[in-house]
């Protein structure tokens, strides 16, 4: 029914890659893993040889131990990771979904209605340069120690890249595409749905990739400022008792979470934007 319904699998799928190309990717991945292992072994050796105290920098094996014990505990235990991971994941995902949706909608409204653009856009652009994490303490006062204050901060952080990118994408649609729709006497809505929005998708996906990082950032900063659970809280608690290994273990989980969200966006982009030139430096 819509143009999007016609979007099918990428022209060149992973399965169509030649055997040689796949083998090369496998070798690359293996070499990368070996480099990582070598680096970890080197740190382990340095920490042991120079007897670095674990409250300054723990050996990688200590971090792995901390990770293990965090996951080995009962699911409902407060020192287990499960509850913290769930809290932070909910905060980050909710921020990402709500903030991105709002950003796309507001960005589209701003472009579609020039009055709105003239009146509101200067403020939005001004607000964009305000360091929004500085508002975190206020949000804790206004929305409490629960997840809502973190989600508000995350929404604020993810909103701007999507708003600006959506607006930029819609404003830079090839003029001839619009003239084509004009010659067909298309309504504003049909032009938006059939031409402008799909043309803006590469910009929107670039915004989503930024938002994926901001969503996790918002959750952690919010938890630092005041919270009862979450990986940010866990890092503060571990730090308070000089358990650096525990802090780093939580950080690793956060990194995995952030990378996971970002790669999910990339995977969605590869599927949806099969027609656009790839900007992914990881995919050659």
């Amino acid at each position: 029914m819509t143009g999007e319904a016609n979007v099918k699998a990428p022209i060149k799928t992973r399965h169509e890659r030649s055997f040689g190309a796949r083998l090369r990717r496998l070798i690359d991945a293996g070499l990368g893993f070996l480099v990582l292992c070598a680096l970890v072994a080197l740190i382990e050796a340095i920490v042991r040889v120079f007897a670095v105290p674990s409250y300054v920098f723990p050996a990688p094996s200590e971090i792995v131990k901390a990770l293990y014990s965090g996951f080995a505990e009962s699911i409902f235990s407060r020192s287990a990771y499960y509850m913290h991971i769930t809290t932070t994941a909910i905060e980050a995902l909710a921020s990402f979904v709500i903030g991105s949706s709002l950003g796309v909608v507001v960005g589209a409204l701003i472009i579609q209605f020039s009055l709105l653009r003239r009146i509101v856009l200067p403020y939005f652009i001004g607000l964009q340069s305000v360091p929004k994490v500085a508002l975190a303490p206020l949000f804790v006062v206004w929305f409490g120690l629960g997840i809502s204050s973190k989600i508000v901060l995350g929404v604020l952080l993810t909103f701007f890249p999507l708003m600006i990118n959506t607006a930029a994408g819609l404003a830079s649609v090839e003029r001839e595409r619009l003239e084509l729709m004009q010659s067909l006497k298309a309504s504003g809505w049909k032009t938006f749905r059939l031409v402008k929005l799909p043309s803006a998708l590469p910009f929107i996906f670039a915004g989503l990739e930024m938002a994926a990082a901001y969503a996790v950032l918002g959750a952690v900063v919010g938890e630092f400022v005041g919270g009862t659970s979450g990986l940010g809280v866990l890092i503060l608690n571990r730090n308070a008792v000089l358990d650096v290994a525990g802090s780093l273990a939580a950080l690793i989980i956060l990194a995995v979470m952030g990378i996971g969200l970002q790669r999910a966006v990339v995977a969605a982009r590869v599927r949806v934007l099969f027609w656009a030139p790839s900007q992914d430096i990881l995919v050659d």
Partner: protein, 267 residues
Amino acid sequence: MSKRGSLDPIIMVRDLTKTYRSKREGLVNALDPVSFTVEEGEFVCLVGPSGCGKSTLLKILAGIVERTSGDFGIRHRGHAATDCHIGLVFQSPVLLPWRTVLHNTLLPAEVLALDRGAAEQRARELIALVGLAGFENSYPSELSGGMQQRCAITRALLHDPPILLMDEPFGALDAMTRDSMNVELLRIWAESRKTVFLITHSISEAVFLADRVLVMSQRPGRIIDEIRPELSRPRDFDSMTTPAFGEAVRRIRRKLGMDGRSKSYDG
């Protein structure tokens, strides 16, 4: 040389002008008063140097640009299925890269809310007519420039408009592809029985294609001559070597001040 519809012109342009404001040059006169008519079924080419306002004229006819003064009318019979009486082809194909050939062709059906089944059947016929059969499910990025422009033509014809407006449709193609596309266009024109108004800066292309060539001056554009090349139809590459062809080309060149001394013409 269609003899149909000699009653009323299908396109009527009277004293059309266009003035626009440019940041560098202030008020710019793009079109001096321009008047002409196009008969139903006729193939008319408008030839002129680049920047003479011929694209502006076409955009006014297509309803993309507002006229400054004057008048134009497009006659349409009552039985037209839609409000859109023109099909437009640009210099670049302007295909939507996320749509296949079939769905690019069907774009007007979605915009004009035509019956989907009938539109799809017509789309497939048009795709076959322009020689793209078998590429219905290909994406534009998988097609050559010439094939993309063929798809732009199927899209312009989908809603069965009586008039096809073309703005240097093969200007972006290499010379060899361009020649064969012109022969194809004449065939499509003969089969689809449309009125074609085509803009070009190639004099030989205009003479080869047209029943009637309108010659436009440098900006502000005015129509300074009108020529009916004495070439029989159907035309093919041999038509380009006839004396009549050479005579028509020579006459237009002289009109545009290109007698071998002037360097003002960059087409």
